[in-house]
Symmetry: D2
Subunit: 145 residues, 4 copies
């Protein structure tokens, strides 16, 4: 039963289950660095098919990286949880070849609602800050099959 | 001179110039339906490499579509303008094969700052609403070369 | 029964019921201009106890006006509905004596969730734009007593 | 000169200067607990003129408390800085008599733009989370006179 599971084991098992079918994150070349209960760290390197008309990484794709980190963090407790929405601020542009690291952490959980913060960095520089609102659907990520 | 240009001609010329180098929007299979001064309508069909671990379109990619529509709308007046950030709310999931349409329109411009609203629909249903904050950089999209 | 009520009658009856106990909106000197199903227009004049350390109307109070307009709009259908959160952008400062007008309108309703847009103006100028997220609690505003 | 000032002295001097004319925060019964470079903690107790039509503290006034904490934090470095906008999520209602504490901290500064997080609590419970976007105007808070 999920409720008896070790929290770290559960976080990693949920991430593995989600990752296996997360075609979008894979297609964008993301990889998971670390998942713990309530947190997730993912990376993505800016490819030449991620650059926009201003010659910098498309903001929507920086957001997609942050959104994936948010998704792994908010599903880490074992309950299927989806994004209700998010807010993102772009602080610095990212260029072709930059390796971006997104760190998501749980800020607050209350009932079925949660708020998660994600910071996207290139080395030490903050590229974007993201705040996601989550909504739990109540069913387990690891369903008995 | 840009300031003498017909606004509709300028909007379309800026879109063409931006689109030519917007590898990210092209790689995501987007296409431009229409651009006018302060507005842009783009479409994207959900492919199998856009689906996430919950079997629905990755929210970050819905946001990327909205963000592209926002970008074409806020650059339509001829001045290079970038996203400072945005807020998005997901109202309904999008599935594999869904054709999404994002309509962006200018809400307010004041000095170098602007606010744009984007609605993403599948047929008549609203999938997401997006509000973008823009910042003009002051130089022309169509530079003499 | 509420479900048989005329929508306009219901919107006005809900507003009257809410206003009677809305000490906060009254204390800030707000007044209701008009309420219809899904919309509300309120006004507030900037008093000397609403000015901040920069000599302009406190942004939190501009937000409070927008939030009240949002509340009357999202409760206009007869079901108790609360704010889950909001996003606001300040476009122009408001000064002592300015009469602010906030117009709220429903953007989308889906299940218990809704999104409402509010524009705050002084004459024709946009002072702030606000986007509110609502959550219905499911019980009637006009309870039989 | 401001640039030579001790950062903690400067933060307190700016807060004192701003507070002296911040009629709005005073009228709402706020008080400053502590200001340091990049942070500020303020409190406000929910009065009977702060309650809305649902019998709980008006969300706009919770936001006003957070916005004041944000203002003192983002002006603490000595440069006049205003709110460009903010995002707030309400996690729990606040009732008449509740003493709310808002803690603001700087998340990131880049050029004239900054992002600040504020958490509003009643005892240990999180009532609201707030993310503010600031814009520096470039002139000193403590002008020679």
């Amino acid at each position: 039963m999920v409720s008896d599971a070790d929290p770290q084991w559960l976080a990693e098992a949920c991430a593995a289950r989600m990752w296996a079918t997360d075609a979008a994150s894979m297609a964008l070349g993301m990889s998971i660095v670390r998942v713990t209960p309530g947190t997730a760290t993912l990376t993505m390197t800016v490819r030449d098919d991620m650059v926009n008309g201003h010659g910098i990484c498309h903001g929507g794709l920086i957001s997609a990286l942050a959104d994936s980190a948010f998704a792994f963090a908010c599903n880490s407790h074992g309950t299927v949880t989806v994004a209700a929405g998010f807010e993102v601020d772009f602080l610095a542009p990212a260029a072709l070849g930059d390796r971006l690291v997104a760190e998501a952490r749980e800020l607050v959980l209350r009932g079925r609602s949660g708020v998660y913060d994600v910071v996207v960095r290139r080395d030490e520089e903050v590229v974007a800050v993201f705040r996601g609102r989550s909504r739990s659907l109540g069913r387990p990520v690891l369903e008995d099959s």
